[in-house]
Amino acid sequence: MGQGLQLMALGMGTVFLFLGLLIAVIGVVSRTIHAFEQKAVDGGAETGINHDDLLEVITAAVQQYRSDHPRHK
């Protein structure tokens, strides 16, 4: 019983500490991300990989392939 009460004090304390800290960290992370995303929008973000290019290539390849293979439907 005494053990149980100690465990409760320690346990609930840690749970509140841990989740309280998580609240704080989520807040910091969210603000950081918002600041970064705002900057990216302002400065004109670049996405690194250009998917449009890749898509274009594949589409063209498929078209050529199809035009090359008219007899197989």
Binding site: L5, L19, L22
Partner: protein
């Protein structure tokens, strides 16, 4: 085999009539009752159907389906003793959960924290039961029983298999049964502890949460867990892994697998395995009755603590937080959030609290994983 009469006798000796004990018959009845609750009352059917069926199978005389060479026994050894099944389910839960509501309103984590009060009260209750002759719960037993108050099936099974494998059957039955009974257990407590005015509180719409925030969330939770509570890392690790698969957007194949085939297969296997622990000789005793009673108390106290913390937030926020959402802090996702929504609608027919209750609801999952980590750290594991 000498004569036809001998043959018939041999066959007779393998019939159920000649071998079935009253305990086995009773436990098969319990299995059928679980099936009835699951199918007709639709109480947590995804787990109770396999578990109820597993209970019937494991009490069939002669067949030894739960024995070391039987199918359920093999599944239990391979997946529950190793803790693989609950961890894999947790990955699936992570892949199915949208933490957006929690990220938009992180202070609702406090509600998920408060609801863990049920765990530790129940732990004390289990130790207190030792004053009654016939109960001999060790601290590890008490901790495993307390975790029922976490209202989270995989966490309960994970902890029970580590701290009290003998009680696993009763603990799992209690955890899933009361999760199924959340719509019956919670509303009276919620109404008792709140005023009509509090229950009518409308909450602001949640802000938009960006994809980057959702990707950062599982990693943040995991790192905090690494720094402060590594004993919770298996549970938190798999939960956040599943969630990262879902949110990162580049591995949809794997995310789909975690949300569907993996969790479905593991749910069947886990349900049957847990059912295999409902064998008459392990289940039918005073301990089980105590556990069922304590589990009910755990849910009630967890709910009450959540609602009371909700009232605190109602005050400190100047009436912007509806205290009902505190009840969702026990987890029991998504049932508890739906119950909050329903009770809220009783007071104001246009007040939909479902989205706001999802925050504390998923916070409760993290909260009980943290509580589980503490129990493992202190009680041993």
């Amino acid at each position: 085999m000498s004569s036809f009469t001998d043959l018939m006798q041999q066959l007779w000796l393998t019939t159920g009539i000649a071998n079935c004990s009253w305990g086995q018959a009773l436990m098969m009845g319990v299995g059928l009752l679980l099936l009835y609750l699951a199918i007709v009352k639709q109480f947590e059917p995804l787990l109770l159907v396999p578990m109820g069926f597993g209970a019937v199978l494991s009490n069939i005389p002669i067949a030894e389906i739960s024995g070391p060479d039987g199918l359920l026994g093999i599944l239990y050894q391979a997946g529950v003793e190793t803790e693989m099944f609950p961890l894999i389910i947790f990955m699936g839960v992570g892949a199915l959960t949208d933490f957006g509501a929690l990220i938009a309103m992180p202070r609702t984590l406090m509600l998920g924290a408060a609801a863990q009060f049920g765990i530790f009260t129940t732990l004390i209750g289990a130790l207190a039961l030792n004053f009654i002759p016939g109960f001999h719960f060790t601290l590890a037993n008490a901790a495993a029983i307390g975790i029922i108050g976490g209202a989270d099936g995989p966490t309960a099974i994970f902890i029970a298999s580590k701290l009290s494998p003998d009680l696993l059957g009763a603990i799992a039955v209690a955890a899933y049964s009361y999760m199924a009974l959340v719509p019956i257990i919670q509303p009276p407590i919620m109404r008792l502890l709140t005023t009509e005015k509090e229950r009518s509180t409308r909450m602001e719409q949640l802000r938009h949460v960006s994809r980057t925030e959702k990707i950062a969330f599982p990693i943040t939770v995991l790192l905090l867990c690494v720094i402060f509570l590594p004993t919770a890392a298996p549970l938190i690790g798999m939960l956040t892994f599943g969630n990262l698969l879902k949110e990162c957007g580049v591995v949809d194949r794997l995310s789909n697998a975690a949300q569907h085939e993996i969790i479905n297969m593991t749910t069947i296997a886990l349900g049957l395995s847990v059912g295999s622990k409902l064998q008459a000789d392990h289940f039918l005793n005073l301990q089980t009755l105590g556990i069922l009673l304590l589990g009910l108390i755990a849910f009630a106290i967890g709910t009450a603590a959540g609602v009371l913390m909700g009232k605190v937030m109602y005050r400190t926020s100047g009436g912007k937080v509806n205290p009902l959402i505190g009840a969702a802090g026990v987890s029991a996702v998504p049932m508890a959030a739906r119950v909050v929504n329903k009770v809220g609608l009783e007071s104001d027919h246009h007040n939909f609290l479902l989205m706001h209750a999802m925050g504390p609801n998923v916070a409760g999952v993290i909260g009980s994983a943290v509580a589980a980590g503490i129990l493992l750290a202190v009680v041993g594991g």
